[in-house]
């Protein structure tokens, strides 16, 4: 067994939570984000597909999901960054016996701002669970569990999973979720009912290329300034919606492949999204052996390759759907992990990259947090005060990067 290291981050430090196929790691650095300390592994030997940091209500609580090959899947939490962790007597995320379902994995943890006691988790087989008491007890969202489409949702390569949960920041009753396969669904009534929202999203692997549902959506992110604007990385296809998922349009012009898994939104800047294109669903490695993050800063109108510090030869890498995140600082940090166990980070919004850690087990989850920062960050708006201020100082965004 490897020796377990612990970290003791201070208020204001940045956390990068890394879930791997052999346990969880917690990396921390000060706001410069140049020197990192590594804690872990926790849940040694087990896949950890979901992690989150709950800093709401003054908490300092890490959550992670252990998928023990033998002993089942369960949530643990730690209030001291991993030094001690809960060992639940009874597992908290469980299907009711009458559902006939058994929990295979927990793919996603989502902590909505403005609802400090609420946590959502997305699981395999595809189901949304909710806790209204900060993670102590959980129940399936009945409207999703009983959805009439359920029998027609089928497993993708990773299993039949609900892997993406995107609350609406201005309306607690609205939420987007995404499943592989199944596609995007939205509720407008707090989870009582769910409507498929896949119009314009291609299903290359089905006879009907644009079905109501059944798409293999890999990740959806929301624009920080315009909450009705969403971006979607599909199993073949890159899309944007300007009406909270009602319609999707192709924005894959200027990328080497429209196949990919990971997608992360900028925490403040509107229209800014990061992806890592992957070559084909058979090959599933970075095109041309080059590890490139692509960024759009105009809502998918164009894309630029971000490569400084990333290997551009013989880099046959795969970055999975939850293995990319941004932090909430300014300038924003961007982080991603590879299936080959390398964690890269940028402390300048993608302009340059640093290999933070290598030799980790296959990375399946990368999430971030700022210690003690329980306040949601404010988005910037085009033409808003931030931009005017930057222009006045002569340090506009373009020159800054």
């Amino acid at each position: 067994m490897p020796s377990v290291q612990h970290v003791s981050p201070k208020k204001g430090d940045v956390l990068v939570l890394v879930g791997t196929m052999k346990g969880a790691f917690v990396l921390t650095a000060d706001r410069a984000r140049k020197k990192w300390k590594v804690g872990g592994p926790y849940s040694i030997g087990s896949p950890v597909y979901a992690m989150a940091y709950d800093n709401r209500q003054g908490r300092h609580r890490l959550w992670w999901a252990t998928q023990s090959f033998r002993w089942g899947t369960f949530l643990s939490s730690s209030d001291d960054f991993g030094k001690t962790a809960t060992q639940p007597e009874a597992y908290s995320v469980k299907f009711p016996a009458e559902s006939g379902l058994t929990l295979k994995n927990i793919w996603q943890l989502q902590l909505p701002t403005g609802e400090p006691e609420t946590i959502y988790c997305g699981v395999e087989p595809s189901t949304l669970f909710v806790s209204r008491d900060a993670g102590q007890s959980w129940s399936p969202v009945q409207g999703h569990l009983d959805h009439p489409h359920r029998a027609k949702w089928t497993p993708g390569g990773g299993g039949m999973c609900l892997h993406t949960i995107v609350p609406h920041p201005a309306d607690r009753k609205r939420m987007i979720i995404a499943m592989s396969t199944g596609g995007v669904y939205r509720t407008n009534d707090g989870g009582a009912t769910w409507q498929a929202r896949n119009q314009g999203v291609r299903a290359e692997f089905l006879p009907e290329k644009y079905p109501e549902f059944g798409q293999c959506v890999h990740k959806v992110v929301r624009d920080p300034a315009n909450p009705n604007r969403l971006y979607l990385q599909n199993h073949w296809g890159l899309y944007r919606s300007d009406d909270d998922g009602d319609n999707w349009k192709d924005i894959a012009k200027g990328v080497p492949s429209d196949f990919g898994f990971a997608m992360a939104g900028h925490p403040h800047d509107p229209d800014t999204v990061y992806i890592v294109p992957i070559e084909s669903d058979e090959y599933r490695c970075t095109p041309e052996g080059k590890l490139r993050v692509y960024r759009t800063r105009n809502g998918g109108g164009s894309w630029e390759a971000l490569t400084r510090g990333l290997p551009q030869k013989n880099a046959l890498e795969t970055v999975l759907r939850d293995s990319m995140s941004t932090d909430s600082l300014d300038p924003a940090g961007v982080y991603f992990g590879t299936r080959s166990g390398k964690l890269y980070g940028s402390n300048d919004e993608g302009k340059s990259w640093q290999l933070i850690q290598e030799g980790l087990p296959a990375i399946v989850c990368v999430k971030t947090g700022v210690v003690g920062d329980g306040v949601a960050t404010s988005p910037r708006r085009h033409g808003g005060a931030e931009k005017k201020k930057a222009k006045k100082k002569g340090s506009g965004k373009k020159s800054r990067r």
């Binding site: 002993w71 299907f95 929990l103």
Partner: protein, 93 residues
Amino acid sequence: MPVIINIPSYLATFAGGQRSVKLASSPATVNEALDALWKLHPALRDRVLDEQNQVRQHINVFVGDESIRFAQGLATPVAEGIEILIVPAVSGG
């Protein structure tokens, strides 16, 4: 003669460190024996059984030398004085 249930080291951490639990009752089946075990050590239940009350896929339960998968499952009879073994299957990656 009491029935004894032997558990692996991982589960012993949820059973006060015991690797062997002696049941005071006389269960007729594996299901009854496990129910008695959960009463003594509730944290063991979800680690061994899933939501459908089935032994998890990568765990084996033996009555004496016989795997219950090749007998009557949880309905496998338990003779007085026999030992039940809960053991992780050879699996993983």
